[in-house]
């Protein structure tokens, strides 16, 4: 089963000079270039906004303090926003993921936090519908089409125009010829993928660190998976039109129908009404307090912050300490719904990852989003950090509020600085294993089919 270098060279030349090869590779490369540009544009715009946050915060606080001079802190503290941000990882340019849907900056007041977590800027729904043509889109959705274009007629075209019979009578090993043809196509596909990937690394300034190699590994496995899908269809021994139709149908199912069905399944299986429920409970929690005696509200607050018991809160007049304690109790009353909400979001993520085990397309998309830190888990980590920061701010200002310190007497910028969530390296084993298992199984099936349909004599009329 030996193939000489001469055969390899001529076979490669014949393939590369085919009409579809150059057009396909150039088209995908151009899509790739646009994907790099689009990803960089979206993330750079976000980063620019994030970079302006510090100055905006400073100016905003200066204005608030100037306005509140002469008034107690408790009165002024109602107005300022405190800004948080979720910086993009360098790999977010490769895969924007949910960063265009979820807010990447959140400003919050010292009031009850829960309702503020789910505020976000209005997003153009048309843009969301169209989605992002970023590098991950090029690799996950468009690259399989190139693989299909390069492979669907690898053998069938030769069978249809009669070359295969001459090949069959010329070679001592038809197995070697088949392997040769497939490996040449695989090599061209891998080189094309590598060129686009490296162009992306350079264009988007991705660092040569572990996550970049992880991205490369996911792309490699994903390309191998789609190549195996093509090889299975080729190994059926049908016509070029059958192969093309079947492969495009598989692409539509795996890339469009399955993810759509999976999304509906996840949403229906784990409904998440708690975002609005949490907001309503929190608002009801403190609005009701206006008509209730202050004592019980304060007791709930003292249970967490007993050090403020020493400050008297009169029942018959407004007290800033009571106002912020009331806001806090709103959060306490919605804590259960909030916990449920985050729990359900985690469950959704878990279910999505399990469903992805049945579809390498979904698995690959999840993996690149994980590596880029642009998935739902990353956003949940950001929301948790906002909650933690909200607590830090409250606890910084509570003493001044209860002491009724004048606004101009305190350092308004002295609260602990917001610490954004750093890059998180998620476990990728499950997703990688899913793609690997599907690829290996596909390879096994195609070997069996090749032996049955090509290696043994076919009992077909006019074969």
């Amino acid at each position: 089963m030996k193939i000489s270098q001469k055969i390899l060279f001529l076979e490669t030349k014949n393939f590369l000079l085919g009409k579809t090869v150059l057009i396909g590779a150039i088209s995908l490369f151009l899509f790739g270039i646009y994907g790099f540009y689009h990803g960089s544009k979206v993330i750079n715009r976000q980063q620019k906004t994030i970079e302006s946050v510090a100055q905006v915060q400073k100016n905003h606080l200066n204005l608030i303090v100037a306005h509140g001079t002469g008034k107690p802190v408790g009165s002024t503290a109602y107005y300022p926003f405190f800004y948080t941000f979720n910086p993009a990882s360098p790999w977010a340019k490769f895969s924007i993921g949910q960063r265009d849907v979820n807010p990447f900056t959140l400003k919050m007041k010292m009031l009850a936090i829960e309702g503020q977590l789910y505020d976000s800027e209005l997003t153009n729904p048309l843009t969301l519908l169209v989605g992002n043509l970023d590098a991950s889109f090029v690799f996950i959705f468009l690259f399989p089409l190139l693989i299909i274009a390069f492979t669907y007629n690898a053998i069938s075209e030769e069978q249809e125009n009669g070359v295969w019979k001459i090949v069959g009578t010329s070679t001592k090993s038809i197995t070697a010829v088949i392997i040769n043809k497939l490996l040449i196509r695989l090599a061209v596909i891998l080189i094309t993928a590598a060129l686009i990937f490296f162009a992306g690394i350079l264009n988007m300034h991705l660092p040569f660190t572990y996550p970049t190699f992880q991205l490369g590994l996911v792309i490699l496995l994903y390309v191998l998976f789609w190549f195996t899908v093509s090889v299975i269809v080729i190994s059926l021994g049908q016509s070029s039109s059958f192969n093309a139709t079947t492969l495009v149908s598989v692409w539509i199912f795996l890339c469009i129908l399955f993810p759509g069905i999976a999304n509906v399944t996840v949403n229906n299986s784990i409904p998440v009404p708690e975002a609005s429920e949490t907001t309503i409970k929190q608002r009801e929690g403190y609005h009701a307090k206006w008509d209730e005696p202050k004592g019980p509200t304060m007791e709930k607050f003292y249970a967490v912050y007993p050090q403020y018991r020493k400050y008297p809160v009169a029942e018959d007049k407004y007290s800033p300490g009571w106002y912020y304690a009331m806001q806090f109790s709103g959060d306490l009353e919605s804590a259960n719904s909030s916990e449920k909400l985050f729990g359900k979001l985690d469950q959704r993520q878990w279910l999505s990852e399990n469903i992805a085990a049945f579809n390498p397309v979904v698995a690959a998309q999840q993996l690149v989003n994980k590596i880029a830190n642009t998935d739902l888990s990353s956003h949940i980590r950001y929301l948790q950090s906002v909650k933690a920061h909200h607590r830090q701010i409250r606890e910084y200002f509570y003493p001044f509020i209860f002491e009724e310190t004048p606004t101009e007497s305190i350092n308004w910028a002295g609260y602990p600085a917001y610490k954004p969530v750093g890059y998180t390296m998620d476990n990728l084993t499950g997703g990688l294993l899913a793609i690997l298992i599907w690829t290996a199984s596909g390879l096994g099936i195609s070997i069996f089919l090749f032996k049955r349909n090509f290696i043994h004599i076919k009992d077909v009329q006019n074969a």
Partner: protein, 231 residues
Amino acid sequence: MLEAKNLTKRYGSHTALSKLNLTIKPGEIFALLGQNGAGKTTTINLFLGFIEPTDGSASINGISVAEHPQEIKQHLAYIPETVMLYPNLTGIENLEYFSSLAGFGYSKKELGELLSTAGLQQQAFDQRLGGYSKGMRQKVGIAIAIAKKAKVLLLDEPTSGLDPKASNEFSEILKTLAAKGTAILMATHDIFRAKEVATRIGIMKEGNLQSVVNARDISANELEALYLKTV
């Protein structure tokens, strides 16, 4: 040498070839005549090992095709009705590719000589096959067969669609190959070409070899009359 013993091929209730007994010796050109569906291509496919016989056996140089489908391919060459090789490669590259597949490593000079022997003009050697006429492609097919040094040549309507000059050239090459000891089996619709080039002619109908005549013993008109009477 090609030999068929009670060679039979059935597809369900339809018999494509029935109990064919035939021997073609080295240096002999055997032309199979018959209408479409008479069993000519089935016979060739059985000798090529592309399909399995239902009954009987086909052998090449004493080796059973069904039992040694890969081994017999070293002994034969095949030229289909339309030689469609690789259009993106030149004539000489196609010859180099297929001769390498068969295990022969020819130099550029030798490849050129083979193409010349097959009748291809030198200026066409380095042109892409996609721009070749049918006759030129057939010549590359012949060159591939010659390059393989096969002792058996199977041809499935090789002159179909060729102009008279190209057909004549093709016939001359076949005669030269036969003179060198190649056994040739050719399926064709062309009665007059068969009469001119073949040593023996068989007429098939509905899977049966109805009659076999020596080409020298019969005139073209008599052959035509026999053919029309048979089919």
